[in-house]
Amino acid sequence: MQKQLPPKIAAELAALPYQYIKSKPTKNSRLSPLLKKQFEISLSESAIKGTSGGLPFQLFNKTYGFAITARGKLESNKDHHVIAIRGTKVMVPDWMTNLNIGFVSGPNNKDVHAGFMKAFNSLKPAFEK
């Protein structure tokens, strides 16, 4: 079983949330060939939205995607879910987690940056769907 994301794939997944802007005039769900082969990513309704740090964020998040989720489709990464979350918002950069990516194993008693945790909790209901 694949335990770690190869850097190349991690980089490509991390870049994805930045591309999904709701008001973009063309709707396509282009993935790189590498990602296409290994993951299923639902992009139909643009990216999942979350909030962090109060009103300014909530306004931005109406138009800009926040996170995307992907599910592994190969034997080696089957049943693995990846969550790629976009980094600091540019106007009011209030959380320090610029990029956070990895296999989700649920709460594991590890220290997590508070700002990130807050943002993550706002996203959680969408992931549970």
Binding site: N28, R30, S32, F60, G87, T88, V90, P93
Partner: protein
């Protein structure tokens, strides 16, 4: 600290040239739109109209911004050049330019946006000189080199 207030030149899009055909016949008077979404979350839109030969042109687009001086800012521009045909937006170019400087591979592609409206829209890869990750884009245009449909 002073870096926070400094403004930087940010390149959003190089010069664009192209030609639009429909079943090999030049399409004249068609509106071509350019839509640029940089990290500052301002959507910049302009348009041009094809001439008698179906040709069109957009100048290079640069802005000044303080954002590159901020920590943790991912500088990128979503570039879309499209035409609206029968209510559908067809991408002559749909790609993400990473960073704040021109990228030669993008410059080359964008000065030859040659398409036929009957072409299928495809996803393709093209070379990236500075990274192992290739660039990718979506388009109804076709190029004779450095163009791998996937």
């Amino acid at each position: 600290m002073l870096g926070l207030f400094k403004k930087y030149d940010v390149h959003l899009c190089p010069e664009v040239r192209g030609r639009i055909l429909d079943n090999s016949i030049p399409v004249k008077g068609l509106t071509v739109h350019r839509w640029l979404g940089y990290t500052d979350e301002v959507e910049r839109k302009d348009f041009t109209i094809t001439d008698d030969n179906g040709e069109f042109y957009f100048p290079e687009y640069n802005i000044r911004s303080k954002l590159p001086g901020r920590l943790f800012v991912e500088n990128l521009t979503v570039q879309v050049i499209y035409v609206c045909v029968d209510g559908e937006n067809l991408a002559l170019w749909d790609a993400v330019l990473e960073g704040i400087n021109p990228i030669e591979a993008f410059n080359k592609k964008l000065v030859s946006l040659n398409c036929d409206l009957t072409n299928e829209q495809v996803d393709f890869e093209f070379n990236n000189e500075s990274s192992q990750r290739k660039h990718n884009a979506t388009s109804i245009c076709r190029w004779s080199e450095d163009f791998t449909i996937y």
